[in-house]
Symmetry: D2
Subunit: 358 residues, 4 copies
């Protein structure tokens, strides 16, 4: 991706000389997610174009300099199936990392495929090989986890693990998820497995809502076929008139935020996780929506190494019953990436898979 | 107070026949607080006018039917100095009280001087005697606590104890308090004693800021003499460019809320406690202010019995060093209450004391 | 139950004159649980014998004085299926109820079938009718919940809801449950539904372990066939050598407590919920087990109204997949209660159901 | 320190060749704390003797290779007064660092003066210069903080910041500190500033108790002059019969742990922080002390970077009113270290300062 609003080009780059502790991964799959569309539209600031997009990526170990272990201590050999945490260089020493305990706000933090320039090397998954610099958190993909499910979950799954961490669901809670994209679908699946009494997904189009049910939603509300008042009424009907205990915003719309503060019950919690980019201002009322509601609103930015490691365990446990692989609806080769971006931008698919060898 | 926008009248009511467990308190002081101004302006819904205002009130035990103990088990005798929790009839059984753990959202909850009609009896402190119905939480005023400090703190202190509970201050935190009224002043005093590294109060007019310093503020910012940009810059200068760790909204202004989401650092917390009434909508950005900031916003409604009981201990410990009695700037008799309401409405005083025997 | 160590007698008591708000329930089922065995053995202090045992009980509304609503506001009619919270008279006003937020430590708290004397009336479920005094928390049994499942879960389920509250399970955690009695079985079922990555139950005899698997355990360890060292090794093998993230003690054995502090990983949590009576002292090492492990140990006493209300929702959601009704293995009539106590004392059954009309 | 039970020797070591990012600090003061006595007695396992003791140390920047910034971004110049976090090489990637959020249990973690061998270089403060390897967290000492106060607080202060983090003191709580050594004294000072209603210190000898009062204790109980029963009675007398809300164990005695579970109230918290070494087993009762008390016991191991950074702010704020410098009672030169260890072992002093240039 040479620059915003420009077609993605295929370039040939040389393989790096590996430093001690460095490695090269042969890509199996990367993804085209909403962030990639934002990158393409130039909606993120400070991106060092040209970049190789593809932040969450999986594959096999191609080469390593020196003996290599994964983050849990397992020895890695060539050909082993790998995942790695796309967020790297988090410093572990600054105020954000230590005192504030918000490593996703560390100023040194970098992300493969987003904040790493192609000029620096193979730092993105839309490439046949990815450079794993020393310090990147690498984990063996558990045997029970397929490449397709790992990437189908992808960054949306990692964000969802963080969301569930922030949501503090109590058994029996009614959880309302706003949004049926990759984040919303995974959040619904996890809320269901984390003890929610009922999971309601608000979104569109219809095929995504059908997938939401497969992921674990008990009820879905079609955004295209209802008014905000009807949705509020429906949530109240399902909650004895109270509203949801926990609302998860995974829609990335300023209107969704305004709607969410209505959907939540007194004393409930509202996790804001879909506003990765600026989608405009919202108008809310500090008295009605926050103070009098005794509401908790919790922003949720990015994901931490903890969420990456937990995601692997969650996939291992639940891949057999949660169709993460269906989120990654179609597979594209390198020459089809502009087409994939177009489809993602039109919301025709929640997510595309990228197979750079196709 | 016969109705909104009407002068307060002095009426003679008969003393009640006490049921078993009921008591009568001889009023020493009640207060005129911001809520009373709201009541007078008719800005609270569902108020059963006529009412006897005065929710937080203190005095001595006048009469009790049957042996009487305070909530901690101490025997009460006639003439003992008392405080009581103005919130009563919280049910302890509904979802709000039990599952949600938000007793201040209990539908059965009633408040002396606000939701109790004068037609039902002496349920308000702007009276020479107050009826303590069975079940009201009564506590002996500790010896070290004066009537004047208890009422100077008053409802603002109770709200502030709740605020501090919600704020989860960590030692060394920079706490910014928006508002220098009765709530803001007490919140600043408590934040200072709960381990804040520095307390910054934003407010006006100048005499309240001087009182804020006496209460424990390290820095004050004059709302009348600065722009929002200047205040933001000042807070950043005092925090190494980061913003405050915890912001406490005790201003009751829609603009203050918009300003607060700027003042707070990434990963910080923002407690909304000043919007007891509807002061209009605010415009904020879900991306910039909440999601990307990984912010916690916490509404804080009313106060619980726990906060009443803690307030007594806090007064006992800190009355000698915190000038709560100065918040209750002037004392008014029953015939001067319209004048007191006028002064409070003009913000000439943070709070007035009412001595119904004067 | 006239006194400890004495046979249970069948007595005829007159129906009470109902005060306003009082009601009478026709018993469908009550239970014989471990506590009843303790009562029979005289191991609880301050019990006002004679008592009518049977604390958790369910049935239909027989008569009510005045219109009656359940705790969620639903109108109750004669014949409606009911559950009620056996803990009553919690005051909602003392330090334990308010400041400490530990209502199960309220000094006024009373429990049907345990701390209420038969001399006071029908305060226990081993009777054809149970008196529901005003203030008792009554809830309609949801349609999807059978009497058998409600009592099969019984007090063990309520305790387990409290345990899960205290356990703060994070998705993917390994949860080890010590004990396969009524509490342990329900705790395993709930841990599984609250997001545990794997649930390991340690207990005996074999038929209970089989039931534990049906309830949701992934692995069971037979207490009778293993040494403590072998059990520790097994848990380590299942956790990459680390130990369990959360250990739940539901065994009521001083040895189990000593074993649990070994089973838990560094920085893990250990919930102690099985020591309802004094089972002797334990020897642990403050350095090895607590300080160096950075361990959290959390006592868990009784259950709150919140746990009763949540239990109903949990049963509603999960009765179709969790065999709570199998915990209540056999049904006894009033004339067979001594036999039931014998069987429970010998651990032949995790719990017996009582049908006083049989 | 060549080996356990052997006299400390003075050796001359060459200055290291600094790698990029490395630096050398000219020692102003280091300390002799209880851990050094344990090292001398060989009570810690896995120590790579010979070592240069002295983990918490302060001084001035002597030399740096390349431009150097402190952890908050301030430029460091030769002669600047420094502090550094003695814990280094915490990996930030393992389960302990990420998922478990317990970085003090990271297997890669090393500590100056304890787990670093003298064979590797100047990794300890009982030396005229200390090597600061790349990655060590270095901070400018704030202007308002003296060398003497920083070392007087020393490791005990850092541990205490962690303790206060774990203790979650609520305003007005009664905090009981067991132990009047360097940890206990700092914990008492911080508990007082974090909002405790009253702080009670149990310890000996008398001069330490006098210092405890200067640090902020409201009441002291002389361990040498009282029985456990008398101490329990005294704490009950000071708490309306309930016991302390929070107990902090900073005594390092198996008996203290047994006593602490008696001193704490129902639903209270007990932080175990004094058992840095194995002081033998304790006997407690899971029913009486934990389950029925609904108690929280929280182990507290070492300190995190967050606690180091907070300690600097706390010293800055409170050095003028808390006599940390008095904890470091005497200053010893390198030739007097065996004498210092003897004094510390006999508890003649809570802590000795080391000036290696004397």
């Amino acid at each position: 991706m040479p620059a915003p609003h420009r077609p993605v080009e295929i370039r040939e780059l040389s393989e790096p000389d590996l430093p001690p502790g460095g490695a090269l991964m042969r890509t199996a799959f990367s993804e085209v997610c909403g962030t990639d569309v934002h990158l393409w539209h130039g909606r993120l600031s400070g991106v060092p174009y040209p970049i190789i997009p593809g932040h969450v990526t999986t594959g096999t170990l191609d080469a390593a300099r020196g003996p290599m272990k994964d983050v849990l201590g397992a020895t890695l050999r060539e050909g082993d199936r790998l995942a790695f945490f796309d967020v790297h260089r988090t410093c572990g020493r600054c105020l954000a990392c230590t005192v504030h305990r918000t490593p996703t706000r560390c100023p040194s933090r970098r992300v493969y495929g987003i904040t790493d320039s192609a000029d620096e090397g193979l730092f993105g998954g839309w490439a046949q090989k990815v450079y794993l610099e020393p310090g990147v958190i690498v984990a063996k993909l558990p045997e029970a986890v397929s490449f397709e499910a790992y990437i189908g979950g992808g960054c949306g799954l990692l964000t969802s693990v963080h969301i569930i961490d922030r949501a503090k669901i109590s058994m029996g809670d009614t959880v309302v998820v706003q949004g049926a994209g990759a984040v919303g679908l995974s959040a619904a699946a996890l809320a269901r497995r984390a003890g929610a009494g009922q999971v309601i997904v608000i979104g569109a189009p219809k095929d995504r809502l059908a997938l939401a049910v497969d992921m674990g939603a008990d009820h879905v509300i079609d955004l295209d076929a209802t008014t905000a008042e009807e949705r509020l009424q429906r949530v109240r009907d399902l909650t004895g008139g109270l509203g949801g205990d926990v609302i998860i915003e995974a829609a990335g719309s300023a209107r969704a935020f305004e709607e969410g503060v209505e959907l939540v019950r007194n004393g409930g919690a509202y996790v804001i996780a879909g506003h990765y980019t600026n989608n405009g201002d919202s108008t809310i009322n500090a008295h009605t929506h926050i103070n009098r509601k005794h509401l908790d609103i919790r922003g949720c930015w990015g994901s931490e190494a903890a969420h990456f490691l937990k995601a692997l365990r969650i996939l291992e446990r639940y891949e057999h019953e949660v169709p993460w692989r269906k989120i990654g609806a179609r597979v594209y080769g390198l020459s089809q990436l502009n087409e994939a971006l177009e489809s993602a931008a039109k919301l025709e698919i929640p997510k595309a898979l990228v197979d750079p060898w196709r």
